[in-house]
Symmetry: C2
């Protein structure tokens, strides 16, 4: 079982989902395309970690709604107690910044402006997601406890907001100090 498989199980602890749902939901935390998710779901099913129900739909294609099994939950609990791998980030921007000194100020300005715009768009998305969560939990995010199914989503969206604001601040610092 690889990390993405555990990630899929992790999302299924909150609610049953189709492969398509999982693809959309995991997107905030892990980049994975449907072509990677569907085969892993089939394997998880084969190994008894998940089960699915065929749901027929009108106006939309039929779907397989997956839910986590007792075996799957036990695997998740085991995984939670094991050491966690360090995060891996791959950001072309950092590589470009490292050699931006050989370029002209206009190229540098564009690089920073594009990155600022990206973070601002990201911040808007995260704030919308936070608002959605507020509605889902019934208005009061402060009422969320460690044992609420939305504990992870709430704290992680908050983390994303803090992280994105820090990045916008950093972009501003660079722009003000060297590119104005």
């Amino acid at each position: 079982m690889n990390t993405l498989s555990y990630g899929l199980l992790s999302i299924l602890t909150v609610a049953p989902c189709s492969g398509y749902d999982l693809m959309l939901k995991i997107h905030l935390f892990w980049q994975a395309k449907h072509s990677q998710i569907y085969p892993l779901l089939a394997e998880l099913e084969k190994d008894g970690h998940v089960q699915f129900e065929l749901v027929e739909q009108t106006n939309k294609p039929d779907k397989k709604v997956y839910s986590i099994t007792k075996t799957g939950e036990a695997a998740v609990r085991q995984w939670l107690s094991e050491p966690t791998a360090d995060p891996v980030t791959r950001d072309e921007f950092t590589l470009k910044l490292y050699c931006i000194w050989i370029s002209d100020p206009d190229t540098a300005k564009k690089l920073l402006a594009d990155r600022t715009a990206m973070y601002e768009a990201k911040l808007t998305k995260l704030e919308n997601r936070m608002e959605q969560l507020r509605v889902i939990v019934g208005g009061d995010l402060g009422a969320i406890t460690l044992h609420s199914p939305y504990f992870g989503a709430y704290t992680l969206v908050q983390r994303g907001i803090m992280y994105t604001r820090t990045n916008i601040e950093w972009c501003g610092w660079v722009t003000r100090t060297w590119l104005s």
Copy 2:
């Protein structure tokens, strides 16, 4: 040419390096093992983007010191003006947090404590690196300009420090609010 190849060229704009040096230097911005770097260097050399000089050493194995060519610099300049890919982060911690609600408080405490320790170690490393940079540029980091070879390193280490402090703050918030 893939992103890592440009990353290697990017580092070589600042100073000639061996493959081993490049592995150590790129580590702060991009995760890559030597087994990926050596073949790419051979390809870059074949395509005329870099050249190397065999440096014989006593007490240490001989090494190939690579430097960027005119062709390589032109490729970098072209790359700098092209659109930049969005960052990709893969962090097992976020997947675990998403389903920590099904676990017990002790597991949650350990998960957060480990992550806090990781960020604190990272912060120390970054602060040391910043101090190194201060020495390299002759004492005054404020004197760095857009056209200094250390512009990228300086601004990126600062970014890392800000980012890591934000993460430590977030870990503290979660711990204080739910795990004390």
